[in-house]
């Protein structure tokens, strides 16, 4: 690192002028993505344009774009950032100016992204995440690569000076902990749920796609074949399903490949780092001391293919469905043994012990009753709307259909108590196992419905800083034992600090 870079980082700086364009494009794209499918999907967009007139609508759009461009320009003019020692300062705001200060030791996750369009200008996007939640999240879109690297090195340096954690110093090195293989990435693409995410994103456009296909196929040589297919609806259905599946899988594998190409996981100075990306390069780092829980995800398809992935969770709850976004520390395409070994790297001393303990069998009955009620109400509603009382006969088929699913759910749910850690598993066809140190528990809750009390079972909810973990239908005595032990571990870690393990230091050492 040159001294120039260090000096530069201390001065107030602006984002690159190109960043105006990037911010502008991103706002427009986000707006289009969020709002246009809803409008177009319902056909309301077309109706609106017809009623108001194309010219007026385009004029309105143009004015809106100009306003957005102006806002971006002002935002860019007002946006300043600099480093002061180990603190990152950011001034921003259009009407009200706010200044954010983030100390290096507060940073739990840092990401450096290099999308193709930024790389052309030698720029990167640096984002910094603190436990303070969404409001304290800082993103510097479009700063020069060298500056970003200097800043990252400065913000990480604090960890060099931090005391070495037990026994970790000896094992810290830059040797990769894990490298994703091409095969692993393809399998990850198939096994992960990118396909469903894509399908959901395309759903609003189904009408348009169908119309387009019809128009394309209307008078070509294909028409005859299609007519022939139309006479065999089963064959047509199978072919269509296969084509859809192949398209989705192809897209899913492509997404996985773009996101995780060349994935390498390393560890140094109490931080885990990952580098990946085909077109858009990105680097992420995660502070070991801020890691709250590790989740091992085996999707249903993933279990068939023998691949799974890990999600490292930090302080701050992650909304479900956002796990695949670039902001989360995900390790893809792992074999079972590999995943288990990696979990041991994250949580040293975690013994691969005996099988998981199951929860009370009464859970099956409770689930069957709960799901049957919902399905039954749905059936009754359909029968009422259709005005056909015979549909009510389907009610008798509901419990036998639901029971096997409830049984599968019960089989998936389990917990294992392993020394300093607790493992909690759930799922239906897939499996999701959360592993966390006992001392990371923030709050315990015991939930008992009237029926549960009568059966002597209770649901234990352990809230971590990364979100809640639930163990349903534990025998009451077991729930109490487990919660008392958790409380003991949490409370003793603060009363006898010398015996405290480093991984409970969720308060930063000062």
């Amino acid at each position: 690192m040159s001294d120039d870079g260090e000096l530069d980082a201390e001065q107030w700086r602006r984002l690159s002028p190109w960043a105006v364009g990037f911010i502008f494009i991103r706002i427009v794209v986000d707006f289009v993505r969020n709002n246009v499918p809803a409008l177009a999907g319902a056909g309301a967009g077309v109706a609106l344009i017809e009623r108001i007139g194309v010219r007026e609508v385009s004029l309105f759009a143009l004015v809106a774009l100009l306003v957005v461009a102006l806002v971006c320009l002002i935002h860019h003019r007002r946006f300043r950032f600099r480093l002061s020692g180990d603190t990152l300062l950011v001034r921003r705001g259009i009407i009200e100016q706010t200044e954010l200060k983030v100390r290096a030791e507060r940073i739990q996750h840092m990401a450096l992204e290099r999308p193709l369009y930024l790389r052309l200008f030698g720029l990167v996007r640096l984002s910094v995440d603190t436990p303070g939640g969404a409001a304290a999240q800082i993103e510097l879109p479009g700063i020069p690569t060298e500056l970003a690297q200097t800043m990252r090195a400065r913000l990480h340096r604090e960890d060099h000076e931090a005391p070495a954690r037990e026994g970790e110093a000896a094992t810290d090195d830059d040797a990769p902990l894990f490298q994703a293989t091409p095969r692993g990435l393809i399998l990850h693409g198939i096994a992960s749920n990118y396909a469903y995410v894509l399908a959901a994103a395309l759903a609003p456009f189904l009408n348009q796609i169908e119309a387009l296909l019809r128009w394309l196929l209307a008078d070509t040589a294909m028409a005859d074949h299609l007519q022939a297919l139309g006479e065999r609806p089963l064959l047509a259905g199978i072919l269509l399903a296969l084509a859809l599946l192949a398209t989705l899988l192809g897209a899913s594998v492509t997404v996985s490949w773009l996101r995780f190409h060349g994935f390498v996981l390393t560890r140094s100075d109490g931080r885990f780092r990952q580098r990946s990306g085909l077109v858009s390069h990105q680097e992420q780092s995660l502070a070991r001391a801020r890691l709250q829980s590790v989740e091992h995800v085996q999707t249903a398809v993933g279990r068939l293919l023998g691949r799974s992935y890990l999600i490292c969770r930090q302080i701050g709850a992650v909304l479900p469905g956002q796990e695949n976004s670039a902001r989360h520390f995900l390790i893809p395409g792992l074999r079972r043994v590999r995943a288990e070994r990696l979990i041991e790297v994250f949580w040293p001393g975690l013994a691969q012990g005996p099988a998981f303990d199951r929860v009370h069998r009464y859970y099956i009955r409770a689930l069957t009753a709960r799901w049957s009620l919902v399905l039954g109400a749905l059936t009754a509603a359909i029968s009422l709307v259709a005005g056909n009382p015979w549909i009510l006969l389907a009610l008798s088929a509901v419990p036998p259909l639901v029971w096997p699913l409830a049984w599968l759910r019960w089989r998936a749910v389990g917990y294992r108590y392993a020394g300093d850690y607790l493992l909690v598993r759930r799922g239906l066809f897939g499996r999701r196992t959360t592993v966390f140190p006992l001392v990371n528990a923030q709050r315990l809750a015991l939930r008992e419905s009237w029926l549960q009390r009568r059966r002597g079972v209770a649901t234990l909810i352990v809230t971590l800083a990364s979100g809640p973990v639930e163990v349903p239908y534990l025998p009451r005595a077991e729930a109490e034992r487990l919660s008392n032990h958790l409380l003991y571990r949490v409370e003793v870690s603060h009363v006898a600090p010398t015996a405290r393990r480093s991984d409970c230091a969720w308060r930063s050492p000062t």
Binding site: R447, W450, L487, Y488, E491, A499
Partner: protein, 187 residues
């Protein structure tokens, strides 16, 4: 720093703990919250449902909602509100709380009972809140926040003002003491 690490390693011991000898939170005698909380809840929910019923009764007949202005509909709304208020009354009478040396316990719920145990070491900050009606009854809610929570982690509702103030002081004192112990350890 290396020496300190070694020292910690030497002092570190990990005796097996018999789970049956641990202090049990379920054995703690919880103290009911203020008896004034039940009428407070009753008035809150009863008041809202009376307002809703009045709105339905006095509203002119609407095209989209033909039952507006019908006294039977208004009576139905009020009956539902009264039922909710009665349940709220019974629920409020069942709420209880307890404070141990290292944690705060709060139990609530009538049909689904929920017991929350919050270790004091995990509390980041404490706040007392009271609405106008609660103030009239001399009641205060005590809200405790921990790290990473999207919402409040524990709200102890229906404490009398003096009690809440004393508990808040105790909690803040404990948090401060724990922080000091930690800072001392880190030096």
């Amino acid at each position: 720093m290396g020496a300190a690490t070694k020292e910690i390693a030497l002092e570190f011991h990990n005796e097996p703990v018999d789970p049956d000898t641990l202090p049990a939170w379920e054995a703690v005698e919880l103290e009911p919250i203020s008896p004034r909380y039940a009428p407070c809840r009753l008035l809150t929910i009863g008041g809202w449902s009376a307002l809703a019923a009045a709105a339905v009764a006095l509203s002119p007949p609407l095209e989209a909602f033909p039952l507006a202005g019908d006294w039977r509909m208004a009576a139905g709304v009020f009956a539902a509100g009264a039922l909710a208020a009665a349940i709220a009354w019974m629920e409020a009478r069942r709420r209880a709380w307890g404070l141990r040396e290292h944690d705060l316990i709060y139990r609530s719920g009538l049909i689904v009972r929920r017991t929350v145990v919050l270790p004091l070491a995990r509390v980041q900050h404490v706040e007392t809140i009271s609405g106008p009606l609660e103030r009239a009854f001399g009641l205060v809610r005590l809200a405790c926040y921990t790290a990473g929570g999207l919402s409040t982690d524990l709200v102890v509702a229906g404490l009398e003002r003096d009690t809440a103030e004393r508990v808040r002081h105790y909690l803040l004192g404990r948090i401060g003491a724990l922080d000091d112990a930690e800072a001392g350890d880190d030096e």
